[in-house]
Subunit: 487 residues, 2 copies
């Protein structure tokens, strides 16, 4: 696993860099089944940390976890018209089981609205049974021909929340609550600050009334749709008979929302913070925040060095730091150094015989700001005492860096035609804010000419100070929108 | 959801009781797809607590989580001869995806040995890369025609561990380590003490060299196979080219183990502890260990009662107790009482205006031992202070009760023919310990005559004091074995 070969630099070929770094950080690997991936322990541990954090946020806002079936009858998928149009081309179909052809073919869930609302219809009778606030952590399948690890695979892991409410207003409130949870999670945990907003009609979820999205800017300035929250209206409740008796005694259809984020977030993490040495994992998500590296040549040194490493590891662990001791003495210090650089562990603490003599330990930063030293030589107790603060500082630094980069690479104002948009993007713009008339024909033309798409109609906090007057198509503008080339 | 209709008593029809109690405790529900189930929030929260506890035990012994693909090429399943014979009749097959027929059909994993060892073959080069100790939490599919919620469904949730080792001895050690982790988990968390041991050849996992199993006795005296740990030898490593260079520089095949427990454990929990009022959840696994029930008639009382409930709930929570406040004032106290009885919450704390006057709270036990009062009237501070101890006592009581029941319903010695075994079982024996010659023909005949199967060749600690001399077939006995009718 020791692998000192340099990565393709990001500046040379970002896409090649991404594929290499995902493999060499041992986040994931290609599987024997085309389009599926294997998530390796380092990648899965990051996912577990994401899950834990999000799950806590969902539960703190009254959501419960449940589990619904993997297989969905084809007739269910077909019931909501837009839904089936959107998903049919991507379905994987089980035609045979138990040695026989099935009477009705079953699809592997591409998303679970249909089966979940059919169950809610069974459980909900009265307004007193509402709201229903459930989430499931599950695998889903959307057949893809052109796949990329984490970003686009046929099978992926995600959470999907599904709620039912008595009123439209409550459903809208839920949709926005989740949008806010996602935004906070991406900022506070992944240090990946998204721009949030409404999706245009052409980009919304198949079956939704409104889709809100979170768009993060990667280092190559492309947008990554990092999560979505859908207001489904009564589209599914009508198809699945999800009704309730209102407080006034009337039979009414419930209002639904659904929302999800997936293992794609790991791809976002990689493309937000990685550098030419490897990935960088934000401290709050790092499976190991500190790696202890004992360094010695002779067996005489070994005991003293290991003793010090164990002592420091124990003290860090007691201070709430996730620490791992790398005791693979068959690997050279250099090989181990490179492995943890690739894997993006925030800090290494190295201890060798000379350090013991000097009464110090070496604290090496995975990321150092300008003017910061890569290595710090600190007395043991100081290294231990400062570590929680160093981790917090790094977490904040990564967020600040990503936010600064996002705004640096955003163009607000001055782009007033499709051609000008293309030029701005070719000149290195990431997110371009312009006016829009609301006409889908403009979206079509932008796509053809520039390969960019309308990412969001930004939420108020992300809008530019002065509203643009003109749409790219020349008409008067009705709203400000964000364009970008996207993953 | 208020549902005061009594359950079918266990003594009358255990099977009907089981189906009713699973539905009415809202653990699970039938889904629109035949053979699949929906795990509802109360059931899923129990599963999450099981997962957390087991996952901690796996990680404490050096295992890491990963995730492997849902779909497996048919040719992979077919590679290990016994494996395909065992699983082929139960496969669900994806023949079409992305709108086309697939060149090679894919099966939904019934278990993941094949795809996982094909990946290990890619990752392992040298003895230094061993052992590989991975686990995944996943859904699997084994097509079933006769299904029962949690006990036998086409799709179920489980964990599957897969390890690779340099030597046979290490693999055997791992198999037994996991067997021990499972036993401890079932005893300490589910309060469901299993008998452990080796499976006979006819009952072992398709592709294994040796299968160890854990058999728990349900209240109807039937055995539930609650978990298995397999020593796979080199069967899979040979088929998938999982080799490594040994310390001596030779190319060798790795030794594998695999092991799993599933949501079936929830069925075991239900059938171990449930009574005619509902399920009983052991405190360590209970999503809520205490439910607070405010009781009042007038709005005047409301504030004082809620104030006291919130105060007690806060204090219990600080003491590390999982507590839930049931504030559904539209339901009568009786309806809420029955709901929590059904759902098996260990303790209720009820507070009404009269209790406030008397300076007391009512602590009601879900389960009370002989001579114990169902309700205790305690000063608030005493109720809070004693609660952690009460939960521990209940946990211990459930284990002790289950162990006593298991041994009471086990017959050791004196059964020396197939006919006598049938009579013992008909007379109410659960586990019957007898001698066995090792001849599979005896197993066949036992099954035909008595419907019982050989559950395990018990581990030393479960063997009877004196070894039986005769096999049920009349031959000299080679080992002691346990027979039971099983789920």
């Amino acid at each position: 696993m020791a692998d000192d070969k340099a990565l393709t630099p990001r500046s040379e070929d970002f896409s090649a860099w991404y594929n290499e770094v995902v493999l060499r950080a041992e986040l994931a690997d290609y599987s024997p089944v085309r389009g599926s991936m294997v998530i390796r322990p380092w990648g899965y541990a990051i996912w577990e940390n994401m899950q834990r954090a999000l799950d806590d946020m969902f539960k703190a806002t009254g959501h419960e976890n449940a589990y619904f079936p993997l297989l969905i009858p084809m007739s269910f998928i077909e019931r909501e018209k837009e839904h089936v149009e959107g998903f049919k081309p991507e379905l994987a179909v089980v035609t045979h089981a138990g040695g026989k052809e099935l009477e009705e073919h079953l699809v592997i869930r591409p998303t679970s609205e249909t089966v979940i609302y059919s169950m809610y219809a069974k459980w909900v009778q009265s307004y007193r049974d509402l709201p229903v606030l459930m989430n499931q952590w599950a695998n889903v399948m959307r057949w893809e021909l052109r796949t990329r690890l984490f970003l686009r695979t046929s099978e992926f892991l995600w959470q999907e929340g599904h709620t039912a409410h008595a009123t439209e207003a409550e459903a809208e409130e839920e949709t926005l609550l989740i949008l806010d949870i996602y935004r906070r999670f991406m900022e506070e945990w992944i240090a990946m600050p998204p721009v949030t907003g409404l999706k245009s009609e052409s980009e919304r979820f198949a079956g939704a009334v409104r889709t809100y999205g979170l768009e993060a800017m990667m280092q190559d300035r492309k947008a990554l749709q990092a999560g979505t929250s859908h207001m489904l209206g009564q589209n599914f409740s009508r198809q699945f008979g999800l009704t309730f008796q209102s407080e006034e005694g009337q039979e009414e259809y419930a209002w639904n929302t659904s929302w999800g984020v997936s293992t794609r977030l790991i791809g976002g993490l990689v493309m937000s913070h990685g550098d030419d040495r490897g990935i960088v994992v934000p401290p709050k998500l790092a499976p190991a925040q500190v790696v202890m590296l004992p360094i010695f040549r002779s067996d005489d040194d070994r005991e003293a060095v290991f003793g010090a490493c164990n002592r420091v590891a124990g003290a860090l662990s007691e201070a709430g730091v996730r620490v791992r001791l790398d005791d693979r003495t068959h690997l050279s210090p250099g090989a181990r150094f490179w492995e943890w650089e690739r894997k993006g562990v925030p800090f290494r603490v190295e201890i060798g015989p000379k350090d013991l003599e000097k009464g110090q330990v070496v604290v090496a930063r995975r990321v150092h700001g300008e003017g910061e030293d890569r290595k710090m030589f600190l007395p043991e107790s100081e290294a231990i005492g400062r570590m929680p603060g160093l981790l917090d500082e790094l977490q904040a630094h990564l967020l600040e860096t990503a936010r600064t980069r996002r705004e640096r690479d955003s163009v607000r104002g001055g782009v007033e035609s499709v051609e000008a948009l293309g030029e701005a993007l070719d000149d290195g713009a990431g997110f371009v804010y312009t006016g829009w008339s609301g006409d889908p024909a403009v979206e079509e033309r932008v796509k053809e000419v520039t390969k960019a798409t309308l990412r969001v109609i930004p939420s108020e906090e992300f809008r530019s100070g002065s509203a643009p007057e003109r749409c790219l198509g020349g008409e008067p503008s009705k709203m400000e929108v964000v364009w970008a080339r996207a993953y």
